[in-house]
């Protein structure tokens, strides 16, 4: 980036089920929270990015109109679960290039309106036509990982136990009740080897951030410690109709390496990370993608406690997608809001003490012949 970019404000609402609200009603207070926290005025905001996979067209106009942020470019972006992180990626680039001084980015989805069960994929896609959904896809990933590395289904439950333990300390998490391995293993079948508690919940959520240049940050002169967007990387997956490894995430590995190269920050520098644990196996696979451990050693890393609160490199202190919740388009920016607050030392009971460097990671999947459709990673530093 040519010009430094900072997170000036964050807004996030507890994820859960809010069946009596519209997307707009749900998202507006969250954006307002981020705007107020940032200290910017109407005139400071040059551009708005909005993401909602299931909310309908022009959600950005729906939300920003309520806040008088109109007449500026309002850009609606969609890349499934990566959507709002893509918004941050683009907004940061715009500010870094000097084409904007400040931007607001929001993600909102209300999955409870879709009913229960696996989320619908694009109905024209071959995988979706054949009944393949995200739980089955990740379950096959888990089976292969178990085959290659000799771990058991109940080992995956330890990921959920950690996520729920963290979520229990986060008042914004959808699930705030700890669980045991036995409870995870006893939950109902979803897709072998997954039980219900190996999977992130469906729910409603919204999150927002305000990004700005150094000039506007100094002009506002806020009270919170400055958190810089050290770098962002976005990749689509490769189209691959043939065999490929499901245990080594190509797009996440590539995105992670590019982020390290871009920022000069190495895996050992990371204090805290929010990564895409949509299903329990994902956290283990992504430990390896981010070089937190060698291939096949993810379970040992988890069991070491290094990635739990109190450890030296805490992963998903918010509870992650499994416990904080995963309202698709809200997740990317929710992660960035979470890490920003962590680096500012205001995360309360789930604070990672002394955190100075953190990263976020979301993948958007669900397209035939793509390991993942998209992957967005963001590095933040204090």
């Amino acid at each position: 980036m040519t010009e430094p970019v900072y997170v000036l404000g964050t807004g996030i609402r507890r994820f859960g089920k809010y069946t009596d609200l519209t997307h707009k009603q749900f998202a507006v207070p969250v954006v307002l929270e981020a705007l107020r926290e940032s200290g910017v005025s109407h005139e400071d905001i040059d551009v708005a990015y909005s993401s909602s996979v299931f909310g309908g067209s022009m959600m950005g106009q729906q939300i920003m109109g309520q806040l008088g942020l109109t007449g500026i470019p309002i850009i609606n972006v969609e890349d499934a679960c990566s959507s709002s992180a893509l918004g941050v990626h683009e907004a940061a680039a715009r500010i870094a290039d000097g084409r904007a001084e400040a931007a607001v980015v929001v993600g909102v989805d209300m999955l409870s309106k879709l009913g229960r069960g696996a989320l619908p994929l694009n109905g024209e896609d071959w995988d979706a036509i054949n009944g393949l959904n995200m739980p089955i896809l990740y379950a096959m990933r888990a089976q292969r990982y178990m085959h290659e590395h000799g771990i058991k289904a109940s080992d995956l439950s330890e990921v959920t136990v950690k996520a729920r333990a963290h979520g229990a300390l986060n008042p914004l998490a959808q699930f705030q009740k700890p669980v045991t391995v036995e409870e995870v293993d006893a939950s109902r079948d979803i897709a072998d080897p997954f039980r219900l508690l190996h999977c992130c919940p469906t729910g409603d959520g919204a999150a927002a951030v305000v990004l700005g240049s150094e000039r506007i940050m100094k002009k506002i002169g806020g009270n919170l410690p400055a958190v810089q967007v050290a770098g962002t990387v976005l990749h689509s997956g490769e189209y691959e109709p043939g065999p490929y490894s499901m245990t080594t995430s190509h797009v996440s590995t590539k995105s992670a390496q590019d982020l390290y190269d871009l920022t000069g920050i190495s895996p050992s520098d990371i204090d805290v990370a929010e990564i895409h644990d949509s299903f329990a196996i994902a956290e283990l696979v992504y430990y390896e993608a981010f070089q937190f451990c060698k291939p096949g050693e993810a379970l040992s890393l988890l069991r070491s406690g290094e990635t739990s609160l109190g450890g030296s490199r805490v992963v998903n202190p918010s509870g992650g997608l499994i416990s904080r919740g995963h309202p698709m388009a809200a997740s990317g920016v929710a992660q960035i809001a979470e890490i920003t607050r962590q680096l500012q030392g205001r995360s309360g009971a789930h604070q990672v003490e002394g955190a100075r460097v953190g990263l976020t990671h979301v993948t958007g999947g669900g397209v035939s012949n793509f390991e993942h459709g998209a992957c967005a990673v963001t590095m933040l530093k204090r």
Partner: protein, 127 residues
Amino acid sequence: MPLPDLNPPAASTEASEPTPPPYACSHCSDCGYNNFPPADVCPNCWSSTPQLQELSHEGVLYSFSTLVGRDSSQFVGYVDLPEKIRVFGLLTTTDRPECGTPVSFAEARPVGNGPCFVFNVSTTQEA
């Protein structure tokens, strides 16, 4: 098992087709790239003349899971074929299979009710 219709010059697969889709990939005679599901344009060289090519009946189960219904569940999985194509299919076994097990094509079913392609799982396990 009826052979797929290999006559159509192009190979788009529509979700609304009442007949089983061809058990085939599209093969690009210009660059040799195989694509699945069959498509009218080769993504490798942009040739617009790929032809349908029947897929091998013998493959290897890369990984598997279950399609859980209200009263029962069925094994499903990714099958890797020699044409460097991976297809998702229903497995006829009621016993939990293993990754790496040989499988053979059994039948193609019309779209709209789960996996179109059905595979028998060998009782011989590979390493």
